[in-house]
Every structure is written in C-alpha cells, then in structure tokens.
C-alpha cells in the first residue's frame, strides 16, 4: 500500500492559485494606471486654478504640502468668495460665453434628436423610394454626411452667413451644429427603432390611432433612453466644438472653447486663470459624464452591435 493519498492536487493546479493572483495584480495595475492617466489631467486643471503663478512654474502637485491653495484663478474670473458679490466684467463675459455655449449646444442637440428620431423611425418602418434611392440608400445618404469635414463647409458658410446676416448669431451656429451631429443621431435612432417590434404600433393602429399618433404615444416613450443617449452624445460634440465656432462667431455668440483658446495675454499665459476657465468649461460635461454614463455608453454601443 502506498502512502500517497488518493485525491491530490496536481502540480499544475497548485500553480493555478499563484497564477490567478498574478493575473489579478496585472489587471488591476493596468486599470489603476489608466485611471490615473485619465483623471490626473483633470486634477491638474483643478489644482492649477488655485495656484499662484510661481507655484505653477515650480510644477507643484500636492496642495497644502507643496503650495498653499489660493483663489487665484477664480478671483480673476470674479467667481471667488471675495469677488462673487461685487460686479465684475470678467465674470459677465464668462457667463455670457457660458450661456451662448449652453443655448447653442442644447438647441442644436434637441433639433438633431427631433429630426433624427422622425427620420430614424420612418426609415425603420416604411419603404421609401426617391428617384433611384430606396431606404438603405436614403439611410446611407444621411449617415454618409458624417464624413463631410467641417473645413469643407466652413468657408462657404462664412460667405453665405455674411450675406444672410447670420454671422456671430446663435441661429447660425445651431444650424451648422445640428447638421454635423444629425448623422450620428439618425444612426443611433434607426437602430433603436429597428429593435422595437412593429406589432406594438399595429395594436395602436387597430385602436384607431394614426401613424403619427402611434409614433408619439407608443414608440417615443419606449425609445426614450435611446433619445437621451443620442442627445447626450450630440451635446458632448456640440459643447466642445471649436473650429466652426472660432470662424463663425466673434463676440455676441462666441462659445466657451473659443474663449478658452483666446486667453493669451500680453505677458504670457495666466495659468491659474486659464485653468479656472478650462475647468468651468468642462465641468458641465464632467457632471453629465458621471451621471449619464449609462446613456452615453448605450448611444455609442448602437454603432457597435449593428454595423
């Protein structure tokens, strides 16, 4: 009789546990490293807005230890505790730009979702025929607008808007921004509607509602998460747009990215000020990103599952 136990762990199985732990360690190291890569620049922006110019030049990182935080950047924006009560032209200018960005981004995203939902629904349900184009061609026509680089439209629009007195107006920017995000919205919404079975409207139609009644009362509520996804994605793209805004606006309709880009004073960059404006410009989207992350992912996933 051998003394060897009948059930024993094989050499390879014993090694398994150690291997498992190493793989865990590697996975989390990479994850944490990349999380730092993503978050540190935002941290740097926030802290820089509380630094004196000398601290910026020293490259200090940790507040209270390496530098004493002061309201340096926010004071020049008129948004620090001491200056918030007093009137400030810098603050008025900043708030004006902020409102412009909000108006333009929200209106163009809403318009794009409005038009895009109708189009996506129509293309997913009815057979159209326009000249030689059928549904797939019409859908491709809309989505292919995505490849149109803004630079191609920029100069003709500059001249067109000059003649139409639309330069430096909200409406001018809203039209162009809607045009630029509409393809993505149609893409997302068409996928949403294809996933909804047409039997649902058929029931509504039997109940005596029209096509539009069924669309508004039955389908839109079901597709609402998809609409939020499309809206948020459009909002991100339009809120951050810089190229067209810098060409087509000058003062009354200028947006935040254009303001951030033009912050160079005569004696170099006032970094704390720049950081404060940058942070205020990205803060709304940071909040949206954290709160509505689910929807953003849903929106972008639409393209992945249906190629």
């Amino acid at each position: 009789m051998s003394t060897q136990p009948i059930f024993q762990d094989k050499e390879s199985d014993l090694g398994h546990k150690a291997k498992w732990w190493t793989s865990r360690a590697v996975i989390y190291t990479i994850l944490i490293f990349w999380a730092i890569v993503c978050i540190f620049p935002i941290y740097w922006t926030i802290t820089t807005s509380f630094k004196l110019q000398a601290d910026v030049m020293k490259g200090s990182i940790i507040p209270w230890l390496e530098f004493d935080p002061v309201w340096n950047g926010w004071r020049s924006l008129g948004l620090s505790p001491e200056t918030i009560g007093a009137s400030s032209t810098a603050r008025d200018q900043f708030l004006g730009r902020f409102t412009n960005t909000a108006i333009v981004a929200f209106c163009s995203s809403a318009l794009a979702v409005f038009l895009g939902s109708m189009t996506g629904y129509g293309l997913s349900r009815f057979g159209y025929r326009f000249a030689w184009m059928k549904n797939n061609d019409i859908g491709f026509f809309f989505i292919s607008q995505l490849i149109l680089p803004p630079v191609v439209l920029a100069l003709p629009f500059l001249i067109l808007y000059k003649e139409l007195a639309l330069l430096d107006t909200h409406l001018g920017l809203i039209l162009l921004y809607t045009l630029s995000v509409l393809p993505i919205v149609i893409w997302i919404m068409r996928d949403q509607f294809i996933a909804i079975p047409p039997e649902l409207e058929e029931a509504a139609l039997v109940d005596g509602q029209g096509v539009w009644g069924a669309f508004v009362r039955i389908i839109l509520p079901i597709a609402a998460p998809g609409m939020v996804a499309a809206f948020v994605l459009a909002l991100v793209l339009t809120w951050n747009e810089y190229f067209l805004a810098s060409l087509l606006t000058s003062s009354s309709a200028a947006t935040l990215p254009a303001m951030v880009a033009s912050q160079i004073g005569s004696q170099g960059v006032a970094w704390a000020n720049m950081a404060a404006i940058s942070f205020a410009a990205i803060l709304p989207l940071l909040i949206i990103g954290v709160l509505l992350e689910r929807f953003i992912i849903k929106g972008m996933a639409a393209g992945a599952t249906k190629g």
């Binding site: 999380a35 935002i42 630079v151 100069l155």
Partner: protein, 367 residues
C-alpha cells in the same frame, strides 16, 4: 433590411378634389413667392433698382417657408402616404439645403481669386488656384501628415481593445473604471490643449517632464523635434478618442455569446489562442466599424493642432484642417482655402469609398 413597409395601414380615406388642389396651390404659391423675392433681391443686388435690402434674409425666409409648404403639401395631396413622407422629408430638406447649396457655392468660390481683406471682391481665377495647390509644399506636407495620423489609429485600436477586454473581465469597481476611462471624451479639446498640451507637458514646469527626467530621459521637450511633436500630438488625440473606441468594442464584447469562449477553454485553448482564433474573428466587424468611425473623426483633427503648435515645428504637426484654418485666418484667402478643402473632400470620399469596398469584399468574399 427589407424595403417594404413594416406597418400597413388600411384607411378608407378618399382625398377630396379640393384638398389636393389646396395642396398644389400651397406648394406652387410658396415657390412663386420664393422666386419673386429672390428676383427682387437679385435686381437690388445688381443695382438695377434700389429696393432697400441690406442682406439676403428675405430670400432665406421665403426658402424656409417654401420647405414648410412642401412638407404640409405632401400630407394634403397624398394623405396617408404623405404622412409617412413627413417622417423623412424635413431632415432631407434640412441636410440637402445645408450641404448641397454650400457645396455648390464652395465649388464656385474654389475657382475664384477672392481675398476677403482686399476691397476688390471675387474674380474668376480659372486654374490659378489649382496650379498654386499643386506647387504648395505646405499643403502636401499636411496631407502627408494626415497619413501618419491615420496610421496611428491601429495603435489606438490596440489600446482600446485591451482596455475593453479588461473592463469586460471579472473586476471590482467596474463602474468606477468605466466612468474614469470615459472622462477624456467629455473634455473640450481646446481645454485639453491648454491644460495638458501646454501646461502638463510643459518642458520646464510640467509634471510629466519631471517624471520623464526622473526616469532618465535627459531632454523631454515634447514639441521640439518634428518626429516627437507628431508622436505627442497623436498621443494627445488618442487620449481623447480611445474611450470612444473602447466603448464600441466593449459593447461588442458584451454582445458575444459567452459559451463560445467557454467551449474554447474547455477544449484546452490557451488565452492567446482563444483570443486569436475565436474572440478576434468574432469581434472583427465591430473592430472595423470602430476603425472607420475613428478614421472619420481623425480626418477632422484640427483644434488640438491649432491651439498647441499651430502646425509647427516646421509644419510637422500640421493637419489639412489646421493649414486651411491658418490660410484663412492669416491671409483671408477664401478662394484658395476653399479649393484646398474641396480637394481634401474628394480625396476623403474616394479613399473611404475604396476602403469600404475593400473591407466589404474582405469580410464577405463570396457575397
């Protein structure tokens, strides 16, 4: 996707003669108004009669009114079918008006000698702009740079795929990592240019430069030499858009049937074999979609370059868009700039069409 209707409506409606006539009158009437307003404005613009127009807004308003009338008219004339057309017609009119009209105008401008700062206005230039483009080393340099920028997408895809795999693995705090990885996409590229490109990566005071020195790199000047500047710019752009590809790939991974991978493991495949032979082929359509979408965004790359380097050093980081932007900003040269943009559009359309054809054939060789 089938081309027939998925929903059938049986409506016993018979459209009255008057309703159809009303629809026709509405469309034709509004078109007539548009023509009259446009003619009046042309007369005014040519100086034949002073009618007191200062801009072309009346024509634009008449055009919008005609578009609305066209939509309403469809419902009046065609009834149920018109209501269906109404789903797509507004977007179609919107897109066609805002792309076709400017593109036609753009083609006209492209062949004009037009400097906005000179008082003479546009002159027909014939092929002068084209000749100038053919011998413009900076434009061709920018086009060449675009090739390098686009090649960098392969690396971005690899990183994004890796991150998507990690996020898809059994990990804790998945939501935290997902949100954190998504954040760069939310940031305004202009803010990124300033706070990362010019502050964080600053040669003297930036913490990244300090880190690099600590790691033994003597001279971490990220935008000084042409090659390094191009790489740094690509890395910055990748940092913003990797989340985009990562999310698409993650969605693809989550849509895969889990049993397939399990089966491969049971059959004794190593992790690499399972990835190479099973996971990657299954993911290929998603990877290609992510690649094409990313390519489209990459071809628009401009704001980082405009804000950080203005194309320097020596044009090493220039993109087509940033080059045309400077051509307009510095020299107000509308005609030449538009020609460059139009030529770029032709390259993009031809290139992407060939690419899509090729990919389609590769994916479905027998279809």
């Amino acid at each position: 996707m089938s081309t027939g209707d998925l929903i059938h409506v049986v409506s016993g409606e018979s459209l009255s003669e008057r309703r159809i006539r009303a629809g026709r009158i509405l469309i034709r009437g509004s078109f007539l108004v548009l023509v009259v307003v446009a003619l009046l404005q042309i007369v005014n613009a040519l100086g034949l009669a002073a009618l007191g127009f200062t801009d072309w807004q009346p024509t634009a308003i008449a055009y919008v009114a005609w578009c609305v009338a066209l939509c309403v008219g469809q419902v009046l004339i065609r009834g149920e079918t018109g209501k269906r057309i109404l789903f797509v017609l507004p977007s179609a009119l919107f897109v066609v008006s805002l792309t076709v009209i400017p593109l036609i105008l753009g083609i006209a401008i492209a062949f004009a000698d037009w400097n906005l700062s000179s008082p003479t206005g546009p002159k027909f230039a014939g092929t002068a702009n084209i000749e100038r483009m053919l011998s413009d080393p900076f434009y061709w340099n920018a086009l060449g740079n675009m090739v390098w920028y686009c090649l960098a997408i392969a690396l971005e895809l690899a990183v994004a795929f890796g991150l998507a795999l990690l996020l898809n693995a059994q990990i804790r705090a998945r939501r935290f990592f997902r949100v954190a990885f998504l954040l760069p996409l939310m940031l305004s590229p202009v803010a990124v240019s300033w706070m990362i490109g010019r502050s964080l990566l600053d040669f003297r005071a930036g913490p990244v430069a300090d880190l690099m020195r600590a790691l033994g790199w003597q001279d971490p000047a990220f935008f000084a030499s042409p090659e390094l500047a191009k790489i740094t710019m690509s890395v910055l752009d990748a940092w913003i858009y990797i989340p985009f590809m990562m999310i698409m790939l993650l969605a693809g991974l989550q849509g895969l049937p889990g049993e397939v991978i399990e089966a491969a493991k049971v059959d004794g495949a190593t992790a690499w074999q399972a990835f190479r032979k099973i996971l990657f082929p299954l993911m290929l359509p998603v990877v290609l979609t992510a690649f094409v979408v990313r390519l489209i965004f990459k071809l628009k790359l401009a704001d980082l370059v405009i804000t950080i380097t203005s194309g320097g050093p020596g044009g090493a980081t220039d993109t087509v868009t940033s080059f045309i932007y400077r051509e307009y900003r510095d020299r107000s040269n509308v005609g030449y700039g538009t020609l460059l943009a139009m030529f770029y559009l032709v390259i993009i359309v031809v290139g992407l069409t060939l690419l899509m054809r090729g990919l389609n054939r590769w994916m479905r060789p027998y279809a």
